[in-house]
């Protein structure tokens, strides 16, 4: 009889709650019992609240066991879980988990499904199919499909990807680069990480397609230092692809030369801004550059550079395979396709939810999330990272659509959704927004560098109840100045969460009793 395949994720969240210890325990118990198993390390499906999620392959089904701890392992074997035996923690086939099957997995379809570092498994799941197709159709056809898809930059700015790709392809220069922004600095977001950890080969394939399309031979990945496991997985994937001739010169006899270089960040939020990232890739301080020139014209080392976020690029292989029109048919208005929303904070069922645009925030927070983890009422939801507005429960029916969010003074950004219950003090959250800006400001422009520090001071006075009217007006004016006069989104958008608290949660500024 063939070995029974047991999946245990090797992915930051799963590992953070004990997946490695579970894997070790399963291997040890199997050995003790003489059971023939094959331990497969997949990525996470994104149902983080079920982690560690162990799966057993039975025929063409994968039976899932949720929240497994090392101490559960002997009882799993005793219950005969290798043959589908019942156990308290069995939640049935993974293909029937409602949280997952109601999603639209365009970009994340391989995450959880495949053994992340098995090139064989990747190739068996359409690996490099899109790259081969790109070679056949040529660069222009690839860019046309990306343009037709309506794909917009998933890093937060939402710039149409096709236009950017065309600009780089048409820019003069014998040297061009792809610079993939894997800094994922926005707190509350983790989709880039899950994609890179769960589908590293698919991610690198998307870099190759982008490079081929714009005429580059080299891609830089700028990965944040806070993701050491991602780094380890990517490093191994890159090494494997080099050994097997999928990176290097004349890839698989196609004549296409391509390689990637992994750069590690050094802890700077601003380096997620594209021009600061380019500075950092050049070995310098992450100071924001003035635009123009656009990086597409003059980017890394002065060469035309395609800067895209991880999820933006990773959406492309299926656009190449299935056609841009298929992607554009999903979503609403100018927000085409899908977004991988990341649900975190005080929420019962946190995780990654890839859905087409147009679902409401309520669908995500209450439908998928099941409300707060504490069971208390939702007080606020922050969407789009530390520069995103705090939304009130009344705003939960807003459809997730770039423009609909702009209309309510908010932004979708990179798709992070953080839930707070009614114990949250929103004045403290407003203060944190300014404090974070003060800590992370690159210092190049005055409104951000000085404004953030003054903002913390003003909010402290408001919390204490000092000259409330005067300080309130001053804070509003400061927010306007920062928004209008900052060089990049750091200073320019820090006012968003602050204003949202002033407008919707003003009661939290009342002087506290102990003051």
């Amino acid at each position: 009889m063939a070995a029974v395949k047991v999946f245990v994720p090797r992915e930051t969240t799963a590992v953070s709650v004990g997946a490695n210890e579970v894997a070790v325990a399963i291997a040890a118990e199997a050995k003790r019992r003489g059971a023939d198993i094959e331990l497969a390390r997949n990525g996470s499906w994104g149902a983080c609240w079920l982690e560690p999620l162990v799966e057993v392959q039975l025929g063409d089904q994968r039976i899932a066991y949720a929240n497994i701890e090392p101490t559960d392992v002997p009882s799993l074997f005793a219950a005969g879980f290798l043959d589908g035996g019942g156990h308290d923690k069995c939640i049935g086939p993974v293909a029937e988990i409602e949280y997952l099957i109601t999603q639209e997995r365009w970009t994340f379809w391989r995450c959880g499904l495949v053994e992340s570092l098995s090139l064989e498994d990747f190739l068996a799941h359409q690996g490099f199919k899109a790259l081969r197709k790109a070679w056949e159709t040529g660069p222009d056809a690839v860019i046309d499909e990306v343009t037709a898809s309506g794909l917009r930059g998933r890093g937060g700015a939402g710039f149409p990807a096709g236009i950017k790709w065309r600009t780089v392809a048409d820019a003069a220069g014998d040297r061009k680069y792809v610079a993939c922004n894997a800094d994922e600095g926005d707190s509350g977001t983790f989709s880039d990480r899950m994609l890179m950890e769960g589908d590293p080969y698919g991610f690198i394939e998307s870099l190759a397609i982008a490079a081929f399309a714009v005429g580059a031979n080299k891609a830089y990945i700028y990965l944040r230092s806070e993701y050491p496991l991602t780094r380890a997985i990517l490093s191994r994937a890159i090494a494997t692809l080099r050994e097997t001739g999928w990176l290097g010169s004349d890839i698989q006899g196609s004549g296409f030369e391509f390689d990637v270089e992994l750069h590690i960040g050094a802890g700077s939020y601003v380096c997620g801004e594209e021009t600061a990232m380019l500075e950092s890739l050049e070995g310098k301080k992450g100071l924001v550059r003035s635009k123009p020139p656009l990086p597409a014209i003059s980017g890394l080392f002065g060469a035309p550079t395609l800067v895209n976020n991880v999820v933006t690029l990773a959406s492309v292989p299926n656009i190449v395979n299935l056609g841009g029109a298929r992607y554009a048919a999903m979503g609403v208005n100018r927000s085409k396709g899908t977004l991988a929303f990341q649900l975190g904070g005080n929420v019962k069922r946190g995780g990654l939810v890839e859905r087409s645009f147009g679902v409401t925030l309520r669908d995500i927070v209450e439908g998928y999330g099941g409300g707060t983890a504490s069971g208390r009422p939702v007080k606020a939801v922050q969407v789009g990272g530390p520069l995103g507005a705090y939304l009130s429960p009344e705003e939960l029916d807003t459809p997730l659509d770039y423009e609909a969010f702009v209309e309510i003074g908010a932004m979708i950004g990179h798709g992070g959704i953080v839930v707070f219950d009614d114990t949250a003090n929103m004045a403290q959250q407003a203060r944190f927004a300014m404090e974070f800006c003060a800590i992370e400001s690159c210092g190049k422009c005055t409104p951000c560098r000085i404004g953030s520090t003054r903002g913390v001071e003003l909010i402290d006075r408001l919390i204490k109840g000092e000259k409330r009217d005067e300080n309130y007006d001053l804070l509003v004016e400061l927010c306007d100045t920062m928004e209008d006069a900052s060089l990049c989104a750091m200073g320019g958008m820090t006012p968003y969460p602050v204003r949202s608290v002033l407008h919707k949660f003003a009661d939290d500024f009342a002087p506290r009793d102990e003051a």
Partner: protein, 150 residues
């Protein structure tokens, strides 16, 4: 020059060499120095400026700019506590307060703004490994599990 300084300068030269002594690799070189040596010393800055043909001010500016590039020796163990919103929503402020009372001198506590573990908050990184769903009891268990100082 003391024996220790010599050993240090040999190590720095070796790291810079790994990156081809190229000035555009300065950030990667410094990241590696911190990873392998724990922190960046003033003498390292001087040495790297010479090796990479940069001014000391340029190297110093880069070191000062990035949060990860420590300029003082850390303790034996490094604990990074996430201070970002998702963790705040799950009690990170209380955890941070608890942590500062629960550790001794050989543990360096640093703030970090998002470990990307927002669905299993609060998150803490201990010596490079991220842990999720960390309440005070789990934090204490993680600290107890640390090996004694070297």
């Amino acid at each position: 020059m003391s024996a220790q300084t010599t050993a240090q300068s040999v190590a720095i030269a070796e790291i810079a060499g790994r990156f081809g002594n190229r000035p555009e690799q300065l950030v990667q070189i410094l990241v590696t120095v911190v990873q392998e040596r724990g922190w960046v010393a003033e003498s390292d800055i001087r040495q790297l400026a010479g090796t990479l043909n940069l001014s000391r001010a340029e190297v110093h500016g880069v070191v000062e700019y990035y949060h990860d590039l420590r300029t003082a020796a850390p303790g034996t163990h490094i604990v990074r506590i996430c201070r970002a919103e998702a963790c705040q929503a799950m009690g990170a402020r209380e955890l941070e307060a608890h942590a500062h009372n629960a550790i001794d001198d050989n543990v360096t506590v640093e703030a970090v703004y998002c470990l990307g573990n927002c669905a299993c908050a609060p998150a803490v990184m201990v010596n490079g490994t991220t842990h999720g769903r960390v309440d005070a009891a789990r934090f204490d268990a993680l600290i107890r599990a640390l090996p004694e100082g070297e």
